[in-house]
Amino acid sequence: MKWLMTVLLATTSLALAKNKSELFFKPAHFPEPQYDFNSNPLNKGKVMLGRVLFYDPILSADSSISCASCHSPYNAFAHTDHDLSHGINDQIGRRNAPGLFNLAWQENFMWDGAISHLDKQALAPISSTLEMGETVEHIVKKLRRIAAYKKLFFNAFNDSSITGEQVLKALSGFQLTLVSGTSKYDSVQMGMSGYNIMEAKGYEIFKKNCNSCHVEPLFTNNSFISNGLTLDPDLRDFGRGELTYTSKDSMAFRVPSLRNLSFTYPYMHDGRFLKLSEAIKHYENLDLNDGKGRAIRIRLSSSEKTELTAFLLSLNDKNFLFDPKHQFPRFFFQ
């Protein structure tokens, strides 16, 4: 029996890894991506440049903070154990740094959806005085002085001019390759594995209670809803309401993906819940609206909560976490 399991496990990992030689891979059970790859075709050089930029603190005003400072590969590109993002001069930001994966399937970005396109997203943390406090004009000036970057830009764009457009397109190029679709859940979807009893029961509970917002297989419906959190009196963050000035959007935040949730804690837009159990508890005794006018009521017994948790843990994707293609590009910085 044991050898059968080993063989099964080995073939599963092999099958899951099969498509991963491509720069961007779409898991078979995923919908078509939102991102228009024709506007920014991926190539090896561009993804490499984007990866180097992602890890280079040169993007911040005092060269102390890189994208990876708050989006670490080993935390599914979130910032484990930090409720709010960190910036230059020991500043603390206003929102929790979310995990970065499956961005090609996302229509808009940030907790409030303020950014309409992945290519422009990086400008937000770059220009925020609480985060990187830099301008893309100045980043371009700094990069133009570094010989090694000249070469990387040439390899990426067949053009050595180094522009703001190129910096941003390279950053999206790398981030588009961050696809998390190799969790246990995914292997079950592909018919290569099966749930244990706890997980199977948890899956049923999930489908009944959570799936209207955290829609499979991305585990989000990319909408913005108020999930009953009270206003933090210090942060005074009204979410999407600050953007649209409508009461409907007051305290509405992005429905985050539940993938990789063991690594992306603390939870919610301001990281107010340290543990998954606290997040689940929040939904008890709460009447929610799914954004389409339907009321959702979640009432779970303690054993149901344990089963639900067992299923949610099957969304952790260690293959993604430890994929060497996404890690710190040591060769460049040594």
Binding site: S127, V136, E137, T163, G164, Q166
Partner: protein, 239 residues
């Protein structure tokens, strides 16, 4: 009315003529339309970093930066479009005199109306990032809300009670209800050269400078500011 005070400006005009001549020579047939934007204050053509009087006051004003986008250039004859340039964006900047003149290869057309969008159209706003005039490194971009700034004017005035007597108006926004994109339409004479005046006194008045020296966030005030854009542009008739 317009002051051409330095040799530099005259040299520059020669340069424009030569550029337009080459544009003309290259076109297989037809004509080149030269549209020149002329920023004015109280009827006087302005330059960056120069002192001017705020109209109707004894206070002074300098402009450090005047930058704006125009897009979707069109020519009409009696209301019918005869020339359309979609998805072409020009960044017009006071500090870059070259950018103040746009040469268009319009072919054999008759027209009596010139129109354009002041700002970056909303479909371009949501279509990712671009290079050239639309490269975010031109400083015409809001990072926090992923949108181009349509119009920017910055400077100093003795009327401003702000630090260093500065004023700065960064006007952006492309989503309802806070869009600052405006359609500008001007009746013009059918000529190969258009002079388009930008009367900044329609935009910046003593009240605004003293009460609201900075405007950089979305809201009703920004919409009101943008509503003044169309009145600012007019066709300067020469001869």
């Amino acid at each position: 009315m317009r002051r051409i005070s330095t040799n530099q400006t005259i040299n520059f005009l020669y340069f424009i003529v030569i550029i337009c001549f080459f544009g003309f020579a290259q076109a297989s047939q037809g004509q080149t339309l030269k549209a020149e934007f002329v920023p004015l204050l109280g009827g006087v053509g302005i330059q960056a970093d120069t002192y001017y009087k705020v109209p109707d006051t004894d206070d002074s004003l300098t402009i450090k930066n005047l930058s704006f986008y125009i897009s979707n250039l069109r020519l009409f004859k009696n209301g019918e479009p005869v020339f359309i340039l979609n998805k072409t964006h020009h960044l017009i900047q006071l500090s870059n005199s070259k950018s103040l003149t746009i040469c268009l290869d319009v072919g054999e057309v008759e027209f009596n109306e010139f129109s354009f969008l002041l700002g970056v159209d909303s479909s371009t706003q949501v279509s990712g990032v671009f290079g050239g005039d639309l490269d975010p490194m031109n400083g015409m971009y809001w990072g926090w809300q992923g949108g181009y700034i349509n119009f920017k004017i910055e400077g100093n005035s003795s009327l401003c009670k702000s630090r260093k007597a500065r004023f700065s108006y960064h006007i952006g926004g492309y989503q309802a209800p806070f869009s600052s994109l405006r359609h500008i339409s001007l009746p013009v004479k059918d000529k190969s050269e258009l002079l388009i005046g930008i009367d900044l006194s329609k935009l910046i008045d003593p009240g605004l400078l003293s009460n609201k020296p900075h405007l950089m966030s979305l809201g009703d005030e920004m919409v009101e500011f943008a509503n003044k854009f169309p009145a600012m542009f007019y066709s300067i008739e020469t001869e």
